[in-house]
Every structure is written in structure tokens, then in C-alpha cells.
């Protein structure tokens, strides 16, 4: 009962704020409503028993990406006179790409599993961090380390560009 109410709260939060992101003319409004989209998605992850992913979502997207985004918008707007445009452009190509992506997603969701419509009982929320940590450091150690090195290279590149 409580879970159902919470699901609809989080779902409404996600969808409404995502709509603001898409339809808002002001970049700063779009960026700040992205905050609530990320929060809503984190809540949905918790309801799906993916607690680690939920907290990582808040940490990475709100704490990192969103802050950087808003910072960028604020700084470029006041320091330089570059007008950041938020309008409707290239309607036809955008519509075609969006329709194609939506079609692919719908086909994948409906064809990959035929029981996607049924509500399944999920096990009660338990910690996933232990299993995740073990898998990352045993089975998936190579992709994990490669991702780490990639991020390190990206950070060094960013620092190099910033010093120029």
C-alpha cells in the first residue's frame, strides 16, 4: 500500500519534472527541474530494490553532473554575452529520430519478454552493495579497471585543456 503510493509520487515527480526539462524555454529552469527528475528516478530505483544504484544516481547525477551543468550555464551567461538558445529547431529530423528510438524501445520491451505486463513480486529490499562489490572485484575486474583508467585519462585531459 505505502509502496504503491510512493511509486506514484516518484513517478509523477519524474514525469512532470522531465516535461519541464523538455518544454521549458529557460535553460536554468530546465537544469533545475532535471534535479527533481534525478531524485524521482532514484526513488524508483529504491522501489526496485536497487539501493546502491539509487544512491549512486544521487551522488553522480545530482552531486556531479547537474552541479557542473548549472555552474556552466550560470558562468557562461554572466561572464560572456553568449545567448543560450532554448527553442524548437529542426522539427522534422528530431521527430524522425525520436520516433525511431521510441519504436526500437517498444519493440525491444515487448518482444524480449512476453510477461512484461505482469506485476511480479520482487524480493524485499536488501543490501546489494556487498554482491556488487564482490562482482566488481572478481568477475568484472577488467571492465572495472578499464573504466577507471578511462576516467583518469579524461580527468587528466580536462586538466590539461583547462591550463591552456
Amino acid at each position: 500500500m505505502e509502496q504503491t503510493i510512493l511509486f506514484y509520487v516518484f513517478a509523477a515527480l519524474t514525469v512532470c519534472s522531465a516535461a519541464v526539462v523538455v518544454f521549458s524555454r529557460s535553460v536554468i529552469y530546465a537544469a533545475f527541474s532535471l534535479l527533481f527528475t534525478f531524485l524521482g528516478v532514484a526513488g524508483l530505483y529504491v522501489l526496485l530494490s536497487a539501493d546502491f544504484i539509487a544512491v549512486a544516481q544521487i551522488m553522480v547525477y545530482i552531486g556531479g553532473i547537474l552541479i557542473l551543468l548549472v555552474f556552466g550555464v550560470m558562468l557562461t551567461r554572466n561572464a560572456t554575452d553568449v545567448e543560450i538558445r532554448a527553442g524548437t529547431l529542426n522539427t522534422l529530423p528530431a521527430l524522425a529520430v525520436a520516433t525511431a528510438i521510441a519504436a526500437i524501445l517498444i519493440v525491444v520491451f515487448t518482444q524480449a519478454r512476453d510477461d512484461w505486463m505482469q506485476v511480479r513480486n520482487i524480493p524485499s529490499i536488501e543490501g546489494t552493495s556487498l554482491e556488487l562489490g564482490e562482482l566488481l572485484l572478481t568477475t568484472y575486474i577488467l571492465p572495472f579497471e578499464v573504466a577507471g583508467i578511462l576516467l583518469l585519462v579524461a580527468v587528466m585531459g580536462a586538466a590539461l585543456i583547462a591550463r591552456r
Binding site: 505505502e2 503510493i5 536554468i28 529552469y29 533545475f32 534535479l35 531524485l39 539501493d51 546502491f52 544512491v55 549512486a56 544521487i58 551522488m59 545530482i62 552531486g63 556531479g64 547537474l66 552541479i67 548549472v70 555552474f71 550560470m74 558562468l75 554572466n78 536488501e126 543490501g127 552493495s129 556487498l130
Partner: protein, 369 residues
């Protein structure tokens, strides 16, 4: 605690909401005390008496202050972004309060006993950054904007060493659950992590056995340094002196909340003080035993009154938290403010290398010992 509430009210949504609202009662009472503490401690440090007129020794001064704030006119600047301007103070307090969800007030009360408690604490702190930025931008005032930018740069930088300090304790205990971290420090004062952690085997609430012996004394210097460094980063994350650059009165009027008045200012004020208690409580949880009594036993256990034990645990927790809040206030009236470049030097060239070094050493020792 939850079962106690349920026996009174039944198992429904109201019980859940009340259960979640308990820390709010604590925060409001604590804030009244902290307002009085701030004016009185600053007065004594400057050889003054402080407020003396309202009540004996001025102890009802915080209530008078709150009444004054409620009566104040609610001003929204003409060119401000009205919606974001009004949203920011509440988002700021929401962020501070959300972190209290995982803070264990005693062995019986914790809002949500998350297995990821420590990680959640780190993540939810970033919401406050968004609120500060929202306030600074929406005010449409150069002081507010500069204050917000300084604040965000400072908090984002100091999140790195703060996270490393948490990681050090998590590596040592082997659990992200804050109750596990506290129970690992149960027993007398020398079992606290700041004194090298437990000296005998402990059974953690999550079911795993934490093996320990007197050899843990080798951790003492590293954890002592980590505790001090965590406290420094905590000061920076709450924007308190000597790191109050975002609100520097002599340069920026009062930073990102320059344009706020009345209850909206009060929300920022409440969130700042709630954050102060939060970082103090986290310092106590990570390094100073959380709700553990320093004597290793409780009066309730000695006289065999079981319900007294959680009450005592709560009192110890509140005492430790309030003590560190007192130190924050004490430092505010003792130290001058840092410059921005000194602040960044402190973070990136001192705290971060040392925290990585300590994390490496502690990780090595955990594997070897």
C-alpha cells in the same frame, strides 16, 4: 521505537510519518539551544554578558528571536526569479533533513537503517549544493551569485577529503551501515575508532563478526589524524569560520542569502544549524563511538531498567553532537577567515594527499593484520 509507536497508533501511514518526524522535533529544540549558545558563547569569549533582558540570564532570547523572524515582512526582490527564489530555502532545509534519515540517535532509533548509510550521507549532501546555487542565482544579486559560486566551489572541493575519511572508517569496519560502525566501537572509551578501534571481537548487527585485538593500537595515529581532518572538512562543508568565505560579511554582505528575509531566511538558518549538528554527529559516529557510553556500561544496565538504556544512548549521542557544535562555535569566535586561495591550497594540496595516504596505509594494515 517503531513498534512502540505502532502499538499506540496502529500500523498505518500516520505512524510512519510521525516516526520520520521525530528528528525534526530534536532539530528544532537543538536549534533554540544553538541560537542561545552562539550569542552567549560569543559574548563570553569577548568578555561581554550577551542578552540579559529576556528571562533569567536571557535564556528565552531564542524564542524572542524566532517570534521576531515570524513577524518580519516577507520580501521578494522585484527582479528575482520568483519561483526558484521561493523554492530554494525549503530545498535547502529538505536536503539537511534528508540526511538525518540515516543518523542513528540510539540503538533503537534510526529513521532508515540503510546498509548504505555512509554512502547515502555523502550523496545527499550534494542536494544542499543545488539549493545554494538556486538561491544565489534566483536572487539576481551579484553578492548572492558570488556567494553561491564560492560556496559551491568550496563544498564540492571539500567533499573529496570528507569522502576519503568516511572510506577510511568503512574500510576498517567493513560495513557502510552506520549502526555497524557504532556497534563496532561498543565498550569502554579506548574502543572508539579515534583510539584505534575495538580491542576485542565484536558481533555487528548485520550478523558478521568483527575480529579485533590489542594490535589495533597501530591504527591510533592514522585514525587520530583522520578524525581531525574530517572535522576540518566538516567545518568547510558547513560554511563556518574559518571557512565562511561564501558568507564573508565584509565582502559579500551575507552571501547567497543576502536577499532573504523573514521565514525564508529562517529556513536557511535552520538548514545551516541542522548541517552543523549533522557533521558533528557524523564525527561522533565515525570516530567517537556514536551513541556508545564512554564507560562501556549504562546506568540502565546496572540498575536493570531496560528502557533506560536507549534513553542514555540518546543522551550520550546528543552530548557528543552538541560538544562538537560547541567546538564549531568556539572556533568561529577564535579564528580569522581564510583567503580563497588558502582554502583551495588547504583542500587540494594538504587534505587530499594526506587522506589518500591514510586510506592506503589503513587499507594495507587491514589486509595484513
Amino acid at each position: 521505537m517503531e513498534s512502540l509507536l505502532q502499538s499506540f497508533l496502529g500500523d498505518n501511514l500516520l505512524t510512519l510519518v510521525l516516526y520520520c518526524a521525530l528528528p525534526l522535533v530534536f532539530i528544532i529544540l537543538y536549534e533554540l539551544l544553538a541560537i542561545l549558545g552562539e550569542v552567549k558563547i560569543s559574548a563570553f569569549m569577548q568578555d561581554r554578558l550577551g542578552p540579559m533582558r529576556t528571562g533569567p540570564y536571557g535564556i528565552i532570547q531564542p524564542i524572542a528571536d524566532v517570534l521576531k523572524l515570524i513577524q518580519k515582512e516577507d520580501i521578494t526582490p522585484k527582479n528575482a526569479d520568483k519561483f526558484l527564489f521561493n523554492l530554494a530555502p525549503y530545498l535547502s532545509f529538505m536536503a539537511a533533513y534528508a540526511a538525518f534519515a540515516v543518523v542513528p540517535f540510539s540503538s533503537q532509533y534510526v529513521g532508515a537503517n540503510l546498509n548504505l548509510g555512509a554512502f547515502y550521507l555523502l550523496a545527499i549532501g550534494s542536494l544542499n549544493v543545488a539549493a545554494i546555487m538556486m538561491a544565489g542565482w534566483a536572487s539576481n544579486n551579484k553578492y548572492s551569485l558570488y556567494g553561491a559560486m564560492r560556496g559551491v566551489a568550496q563544498i564540492v572541493s571539500y567533499e573529496v577529503p570528507a569522502a576519503m575519511m568516511l572510506v577510511i572508517v568503512v574500510i576498517f569496519v567493513g560495513s557502510l551501515n552506520l549502526q555497524d560502525i557504532i556497534v563496532a566501537q561498543s565498550g569502554p572509551i579506548w574502543n572508539w575508532i579515534v583510539f584505534g578501534g575495538p580491542k576485542a571481537d565484536v558481533m555487528l548487527p548485520s550478523g558478521q563478526l568483527f575480529e579485533a585485538s590489542w594490535i589495533n593500537l597501530v591504527y591510533l595515529p592514522f585514525f587520530l589524524a583522520a578524525a581531525v581532518m574530517y572535522y576540518i572538512t566538516a567545518l568547510a562543508e558547513t560554511n563556518r569560520t574559518p571557512f565562511d568565505i561564501p558568507e564573508a560579511e565584509s565582502e559579500l554582505v551575507s552571501g547567497y542569502h543576502t536577499e532573504y528575509s523573514g521565514m525564508k531566511f529562517a529556513m536557511f538558518f535552520m538548514s545551516e544549524y541542522a548541517n552543523m549538528f549533522l557533521v558533528s554527529a557524523v564525527t561522533a559516529i565515525l570516530f567517537f563511538g556514536g551513541w556508545n557510553s564512554p564507560f562501556g556500561t549504562y546506568v540502565g544496565e546496572l540498575v536493570n531498567v531496560q528502557w533506560l538504556v536507549p534513553v542514555e544512548q540518546f543522551l550520550w549521542f546528543a552530548f557528543k553532537g552538541l560538544f562538537f557544535v560547541f567546538v564549531i562555535i568556539w572556533l568561529r569566535w577564535t579564528l580569522p577567515r581564510l583567503r580563497v586561495d588558502q582554502l583551495m591550497y588547504m583542500c587540494w594540496k594538504v587534505l587530499i594527499p594526506f587522506s589518500f595516504a591514510i586510506a592506503l596505509i589503513v587499507g594495507f594494515l587491514v589486509v595484513v593484520l
